[in-house]
Point group: C2
Chain length 307, copies 2
């Protein structure tokens, strides 16, 4: 069932996890585990429902909002855990079950960007040293990974839209960067790059609005250079209960269903930033996989579930 | 939400995971991830059901039977992942969601016992070196962990039953060791100990029958010395499709629902052994926690799910 390529990919995957943990441990992050089964999610889409004794529960989409609590008690934390998305998407980039490396710490937006580039550059450095044979097997050139060094190129969402418009793509400010836009943008770079300050509404609810720039948030996506879609998403997150409650009301989200999330925010420190790397997305890029399914030994996707 | 004791427990938990991974990495085990969402489980009890698009799926109870495939492709493997049990048990030892460290490799029964004792002794050694303050906080004496060295005491299930009968407990050959029996037995030892060769039927379906001793299997549980229930279960597992199919028929299990499991066995090597450590069980013992809930930051148990 495992052909030689699958073996190489699995070994690279294990090495990536190992290298990431080494960097995090060396930098005093503490490993934590949030719950997989979470309470009511209300109208938010994309959650799998679980029959939990005589209740309903849902499968997690990430360490938020639990990271608040870990952060308050432990300082810098990370988790590596499975995540679930019930989106009806059948693309070469989406899995219904995937693993995520999530980091949360008390720091500002600039710092959380820097953590991502340091972590990824360390991972690539370890691969160059300890997975040469496997990289060769999957067709990843060493020179591609040598280029993954600090600082990564950075552009704001606004600059990205300008560039795309200049190149003749039909995109206007406020629209999501779709697959075509992401691919197009990624061809401008020879190493991973950040796009920052996305418009309010286009990212998750938790991103903090930029205090100086109207309409955008402290949000950041990290893209690989060859058009595989973002491999990491981060933000400085809203850490005031009142602000989140107001935002929920603005967005017509039933606050009643989210009281448990708000309750977790009580001890929250001032500047709280976080990011999540999609492990299979990262492996897809490193191993040059056409379909993200190949990054997982037993992939779960829409209409694709066996064994 | 995190008091000082919870912080110490969380730090010990992170250190245990770190130490275990270090030992496994140094001994050439490769980290893998099986799926969390698994197909039909038929009549087997204790699985949580998930609405998976227009199908039903279930939440995993362990790396079996997927470990066959990883093993064939990669050799020695391990995983650290969440596991789910929908048993209606409300005890200080059971969680509905817990993390499990699972190891699988091509080796015989003796070897898989040795791997468990080496791994656990390494973990305790690292805690003594790197978590002194936290151990003190939770009330675990250093001398208790110093005693966790090779070889651990070993007795067969039959010897265990004899000892319990001599002590006046009402137990006969073939019965499960219940909480009382386990506690009683554990008071005879000052360090973790193994009970081996449980009767057929009393363990999971996958344990290989002992070729020389009728009625027992190559199965092993590891108990801590103070009566917290088993912290690890292992076995040499059945690796022939035909043998498993026959056993399923004997046990009146609908083989049709299990064809996907049997299909995964095709490439299986000859001697395949495995064990699973319940992380929260291990933490409960190390940290001397009255209730296993305290070993998890956001525990999920029967009628106990918030936030």
């Amino acid at each position: 069932m495992f052909d030689e390529k699958a073996v190489a990919v699995a070994k690279i995957r294990a090495k990536v996890l190992h290298a990431a943990r080494c960097w995090l441990d060396q930098n005093n992050y503490i490993e934590v585990h949030g719950p997989t089964l979470i309470p009511a999610v209300g109208d938010w889409p994309g959650y799998f429902e679980v029959k939990y004794f005589d209740k309903n529960a849902y499968l997690t989409q990430g360490l938020e909002p639990y990271s608040n609590v870990f952060l308050a008690g432990l300082g810098r934390v990370y988790t590596i855990a499975p995540t679930f998305r019930a989106e009806k998407l059948k693309t070469p980039r989406h899995l219904a079950e995937f693993w995520r490396l999530e980091v949360a710490q008390q720091c500002d937006f600039e710092k959380i960007i820097q953590v991502q580039e340091e972590l990824l550059s360390h991972v690539c450095c370890v691969l160059l040293r300890e997975a040469r044979e496997e990289l060769k097997y999957v067709g990843r050139r060493e020179t591609d990974l040598v280029k993954v060094r600090l600082p990564f190129p950075k552009l704001t969402y606004e600059e990205a839209v300008d560039k795309l418009q200049n190149d003749g793509l039909a995109i206007s400010w406020g629209q999501r960067l779709d697959g075509e836009a992401e691919n197009h943008l990624s061809l401008r770079f020879d190493r991973p790059f950040f796009v920052t300050e996305f418009p309010i509404d286009s990212q998750t609810l938790f991103c903090k609005p930029h205090p100086q720039k109207s309409g955008v948030t402290f949000s950041v996506d990290l893209f690989p250079p060859e058009g595989y879609g973002e491999i990491s998403s981060g933000a400085q997150v809203i850490s005031e209960k009142k602000a989140l409650r107001e935002l929920m009301t603005e967005e017509n989200i039933d606050v009643g269903d989210q009281e448990w999330q708000l309750a977790l925010m009580q001890d929250c420190p001032d500047s709280h930033s976080a990011f999540a790397i999609g492990i299979e997305r990262l492996i897809q890029w490193i191993c040059r996989l056409k379909n993200i399914r190949e990054a997982s030994a037993f992939p779960r996707a829409l209409n694709d579930f066996y064994p």
